[in-house]
Amino acid sequence: MKVGLSWDLGGDEPAATQWHRVIGEIERGDALGFDSAWVAEGKTGQAGCAQPAVFMTFAARRTKNIHCRALARSVVGEFPVRLAEEITLLDLFSHGRGGVAYAPASGQKIDPLMVHETIEFIRGAWATNEVRYRGKYVRFPSHTPDDAPAGLSYPAWTGEYLPQWEWGAARSTADFLALTPKPVSTHLPVYVAIDDDATLEWAARNGVSPYAGVNLTTTEAIERLARYRAIADGCGRHSYEVEAVLERNVAIDGATDAYTFGGSTHDIACAIRAAAAATRIGHFVWRYRDAAPNDLERFANEVQTKLQA
């Protein structure tokens, strides 16, 4: 079981102090052996983190081992190519520690198909060289014709190769383009929030890792993760193809509520283990806020050890 920490930046504390405090917490998490750090996209207030991949690129250069991931990343209003490029660069600047979890369509007030097409395009473009994509919302390159095959398609070998630098004036673009740079690993971790039924089912059928966020109650999150697993099992997909994530608040020596695992560190470890047994999650993420000064150390020493051994 992997364990991570997540943050939702914003509120009244100025960004100049809040953001560097969070960077310090990520550095502490790295030193204590947490596996991942996630910063959520937020577009409200002076300290909202609208560009989490950029934020995490900074964090990546201050840390050595912790995985640096953009959380709740929107696709609405973004160019799909840029969404792919930002995660690629995060991965390259972090030496293979990058990753992303996309936000649910309902939160963005968009058709779930837009999220699905964006993820399919990004993963397909990472995995191959020249490619094109025709969808309802995503079209790459933009001049891809209406009669191109739906989804990803690839060029046929024509018997010759003309490098870009020899095109000259006669040819300035191409029907298929290679998205560059490429991430360290072709299968860079991509997750999607499973708040929406359509996305839950699509992700389960297509091998996209589910992220059950702290906005869901524990009961809802476990039910949705279990349903995801059942659908995936039903269509022959293996649990080792994906990594299911459960995010919760944690209150060490505090109270359990609908969104929080509380009690002693043993109680918290048992709650996470129970959730894992019901859902086959491989990654637990603590939405880090309002914690006591030594809670990170206690979690690392008293909870993480009980999740691993």
């Binding site: 160019f79 840029r82 300035s172």
Partner: protein, 331 residues
Amino acid sequence: MEFWTSFAGQFVLRGFPGAVPQNYDTLVATAVEAERLGFDGVVASEHHFEYNRFLPFPLQALGAAAAATSKIRLITGAMLLPLYDPIRAAEAAATVDILSGGRVTLGLGMGYRPMEFDGIGTAKNTRGARLSEQMEIIRLATSQERFSFQGKHYEYKDQQLSPTPLQRPIDMWFCGGTSRVGAQRAAAGGFDYWLANSDYDRTKEIVDLYLGLAREAGRPADNLRYALFRDVFVGDTLAEARDARDWFLEVYYNEHIRCYGYLMDDKGEPLFNPPFDHPAYLAFVNSLLCGTPDMVVTELKRFEELGVHSITVPPVQLELFSKKVLPEFRK
């Protein structure tokens, strides 16, 4: 006069072989080294659908550099703004500005490669007009609590940027080549103007035009700044400096110039595969400054006297440049 340098690593493989992730480490290492050597800024450019080592998102690279440096300015040059949503671009700039303690400078250009517009999915033929509107939007978004904008291509009503940068507004330059059109656009918008490689006479001609047009447009020309990309090659002899220049042409510029329409012909059309004796190519080569340290200092002093704010030099002779040239401008 300030001296900026560009990131090493954004070059073609034949001159700089190495593993892809290592290349991005080199970008950060260049910023660290440039800061140590006394350069004032480090510049990241942007291209797409090219080699696995290029930068599609310069602000993100500057975010990485911010984590490893403490005082050097972190500059995009050029960031191809028409390939962005302007608010997304402002958000990214604000993010790096906050993380770096207010060290971000935006050098913003319009781009010219059709493939990049097709790939991102935005129109090339409106890029000039959109760039001007986008820069105004970023200026408003980074300087006001809430802003509204009504343009031909963009419209915002009572919008708030989140997060807000430390610099209000964020430092910003118009990268418009060394051209009459560039000078006109920069002057009309009241933007500081960052010129492309050009010799002194051409630079002075365009700077005079820019300042004159700004005055005509009612812009306070006294406050306007102008900067210059000026590829400089230093050697103990002129021949050594020219060797350094020719190597850089071979590993970097020739491909950009000959293949992507980087230069314009005398009708203003992109020039593809120009022969090496083409007047436009020769003019470009001659615009690259070669010389002994004394010769280079003498020439650069003329730009300083012209009021140039900053010169951006390539990252290939930083140590030598810092020892032989920079001290003459720090006295």
